[in-house]
């Protein structure tokens, strides 16, 4: 016979303002098996927990029901309270009467009735609970960082600093990400490469860090502490170990007309190339679409010229399998495609460029060696007009509904750089709002206006068109209430940013959740911002939401701290709610084995006695409890009802359903 204690929480007035807590505890006291039913202002407080602990001892309770907030908030708290009073922690049930009752109902009578029903449901389930014990699993002391931009670099460096091994897997031929393409950084105007490349070198030289560039995640198995990841190392047709990065091949290559994606396609590069001077690894790569040798077998100049014989036209993709305890996702962003914004003429006029293209134009290592030239005729522009919020804050379906967060600051930066280097250039900026929260950020923007004389126009551009050699920007000035036609030599669009498209596949492989804008979801918006809801998966940088560099670096370090905390443990407590098959019911169909995402189920041949001395060998499912994460996929798949989950058995679920339906 179970002896159940019921504890109804007021949650200050969060619950008690809408739910008659006195009535709930009085009604639930009448339920069979309930020996004590109480209510208290804050069950989660030390006094509230003491109430539970004392009642367990005093009334010799075998089970506890707490009617309070969501179990996601305080289930662990109450389990600990039960455990410290000598009760098995799995003999606790939480009825959620806050998120599911008081916060969503207005009528007190209705809400009280629903709270009582949910309390009865928890009691019905608890009657069938049995004590469970959680096993333990070892932690593999190695982390994987997916993405080698500033977020991934910072996370990897911090994890390595703590003494753990880290692999960075980067899909492009070099680490560095978007930051490597930037010219200067706000709000200090120091050069992006000068602060990023030392960190890239640190990664390369750190013996704890292994960098796998031009590689992608192919498969992920396992669970927190024990991930098995398949990584595809794509063929770069150059032996990484032999190549010294001397660059002879890139000079000799006759096929020089490939678009240079590092320079945002503003100039060309040879078929064999090193992405940029400070690339890590400093190793050449061949573009097979462009290489004459790989396309039609004629050429081979680079192989002849290479002093270390590093060129290998026969190289194939290679799959490496590695094991990790934790995974950091740092897949970053890209600017959105502007195909829905024809009014700005991006695809029509060469002199309409995106901000990231403008970064390359202003960059000393860029296509114009840092000279401000417009792409069409290489003339130095005298009037530049910037348009902010291109595709950001757009709920019409053409762009993105969110604020991209970084554009106000980098546009102010661009304007200052232009006015600093070319003081005779007129710079106009169309803005909807200037959003500059952050240390020294608003001061930075005001400097652009007050010291650099940048012409900020509150309003938006409706159309960009060509008149002779020049572009005309038609827009509104809402402060002066007039429509402007500004003749400009160049137009720069602050395009919205979106998560890198590769993140969708990665999120699927990691079984972690993604929001409607393809940003990865954090476990808690405020209190768990770097953890994903999937244990062992952590989020670093823009893959979680738009961020600038300082914020990305802070988050990357926070992420590393969480990874270090995990890797520092020798063993992790496993989940106690594991699945198990009733061998007498199992038909050996293998369906559960196929759906198990953790590879916890195997099939064994087992001998059964049939009576009368006869035996039979049957194929039955067997669950490895150390690997099972208790997701329940097998139990709902099993056609014969053989598979059941401890703590969430079919009987328990049906008892809950019955308790709800009886009312």
């Amino acid at each position: 016979m179970q002896r159940i204690g019921v504890f109804v929480c007021w949650c200050g007035s969060n619950i008690s303002a809408t739910v008659d807590v006195e009535k709930v505890s009085a009604v639930l006291a009448l339920e069979p098996n309930v020996v004590i039913s109480q209510n208290y202002q804050y069950m989660c407080s030390e006094n509230g927990q003491a109430l539970i602990r004392n009642s367990i001892k005093e009334h010799n309770l075998t089970g506890v029901v707490v009617c309070s907030c969501s179990p996601r908030m305080h289930e662990a708290t109450f389990r600990r309270a039960c455990e410290s009073a000598g009760l098995n922690p799995y003999m606790l049930e939480v009825a959620n009467i806050r998120e599911q009752v008081s916060w969503i109902h207005k009528d007190i009578e209705e809400a009280t009735e629903k709270a009582i029903i949910l309390g009865r449901t928890a009691i019905a389930k608890l009657r069938l609970n049995t004590p469970l014990t959680a096993g333990e699993s070892p932690v593999i002391k190695r982390a994987l960082v997916i993405g080698g931009g500033i977020a991934g670099i910072q996370s990897a460096l911090d994890i390595a600093e703590a003494g753990y091994e880290v692999d960075i897997v980067e899909k492009s031929p070099t680490i560095g990400g978007n930051m490597a393409k930037l010219d200067k950084t706000f709000p200090t105007l120091d050069c992006a490469a000068c602060i990023l490349t030392p960190k890239m070198v640190d990664c390369a030289q750190n013996e704890k860090i292994d960098i796998l560039t031009f590689s992608e995640i192919e498969s992920v198995k396992g669970f927190v502490g024990n991930f098995k990841v398949g990584i595809r190392k794509k063929a770069r047709f150059v032996n990484e170990k032999l190549c010294t990065g001397c660059g002879v091949c890139t000079q000799k290559c006759p096929s020089k007309r490939g678009l240079n994606d590092f320079n945002m396609n503003l100039n060309t590069r040879p078929a064999i190339y090193i992405p940029f001077a400070q690339a890590i690894p400093n190793v050449a790569i061949i573009d097979p679409e462009q290489c004459l040798k790989l396309k039609n077998g004629k050429c081979g100049l680079c192989a002849m010229q290479c002093p270390t014989k590093a060129i290998d036209y026969t190289q194939q993709d290679e799959i490496v399998e590695r094991e990790y305890g934790a995974i950091v996702v740092a897949t970053g962003y890209k600017p959105i495609s502007l195909e829905n914004f024809n009014e700005y003429g991006y695809s029509t006029y060469k002199d309409v460029v995106t901000s990231l293209e403008f970064e390359r134009i202003m960059n000393a290592a860029g296509p114009t060696s840092g000279h401000l030239e417009r792409p069409s005729d290489h003339k130095q522009p005298k009037v530049i007009t910037f348009i902010q919020c291109v595709g950001s804050r757009d709920t019409s379906g053409c762009g993105k509904p969110y604020c991209s967060k970084i554009c106000c600051m980098y546009t102010a930066k661009h304007a200052m750089l232009v006015r600093e280097k070319y003081p005779d250039t007129q710079v106009n900026i169309f803005y909807i709002d200037v959003r500059t929260p952050g240390k020294n950020y608003d001061e930075f923007y005001r400097r652009a206006v007050e010291q650099y004389g940048v012409n900020y126009i509150k309003g938006m551009v409706g159309k960009v068109y060509k008149e002779g050699d020049n572009l005309v920007v038609q827009g509104s000035d809402l402060i002066n209430n007039e429509q402007l036609l500004i003749k400009s030599d160049m137009v720069v669009l602050a395009a919205a940013i979106e998560p890198d498209p590769s993140v969708r596949k990665i999120a699927t492989l990691l079984t972690t959740s993604i929001d409607t804008n393809n940003f990865l979801t954090e476990a808690h918006a405020k209190l768990k911002p770097v953890e994903s809801p999937t244990a062992g998966i952590f989020l670093s940088g823009v893959c979680q939401g738009p961020k600038d560099i300082p914020e990305t670096v802070s988050q990357a370090s926070a992420c590393a701290a969480k990874v270090i905390g995990l890797l520092a443990k020798d063993k992790l407590k496993c989940n106690a709610s594991t699945a198990g098959a009733d061998e007498m019911l199992c038909t050996g169909c293998s369906l559960c084995e196929n759906v198990c995402p953790y590879g916890a189920i195997t099939y064994i041949d087992k001998e059964f006695r049939l009576g009368g001395g006869r035996t039979e060998v049957r194929r039955v499912a067997s669950v490895n409890p150390a690997v099972c994460q208790g997701c329940g996929a097998c139990t709902v798949t099993c056609p014969s009802g053989a598979m059941d989950l401890k703590g969430f058995s079919t009987k328990q679920i049906m008892a809950e359903v019955d308790a709800i339906c009886k009312n």
Binding site: E343, R393, G459, M460, G462, G475, S476, Q483
Partner: protein, 128 residues
């Protein structure tokens, strides 16, 4: 009918939610009739939201709007300034209670070159 009810009716008739406007001004940035509009497209959205109906009912812009829908097309927030302008225009015409186009006079003034859309829009502008 008081002005509050009028605002409600105009909002309803326009079928657009002016509170979604983020005041970017792109509608007025694109408006080809901007100089002829004594009240600009973005002001229509803001004034209907604030309930400033008197000025709207007495403005010239409701007749000068080309109904080209450039403002609707460009709005990043799915607000339709042209629909609000049209709803105000309709309200004015209904208040006046008269028809300014007589269908019997149409055949004399019409020639084959006039697009049918123009006739429809003429009716919408000038008739009850």
């Amino acid at each position: 009918m008081n002005s509050k009810e009028q605002v409600k009716i105009i909002k309803e008739r326009s079928g657009t939610d002016a509170s979604k406007c983020m005041k970017c001004g792109k509608c007025s940035g694109r408006c080809p009739a901007y100089n002829e509009m004594d009240i600009k497209p973005h002001q229509f959205v803001s004034m209907i939201e604030k309930g400033e109906i008197e000025k709207l009912l007495n403005c010239k812009a409701i007749y000068n709007c080309l109904s080209c829908f450039a403002c609707v097309e460009r709005c990043p927030r799915n607000v339709a300034p042209a629909a609000i302008i049209e709803a105000v225009r309709q309200e004015v015409i209904r208040m006046q209670g008269g028809n300014y186009i007589n269908s019997e006079e149409i055949p004399q003034i019409v020639d084959e070159q006039i697009p049918q859309q123009l006739l429809v829009s003429m009716y919408r502008k000038f008739n009850k």
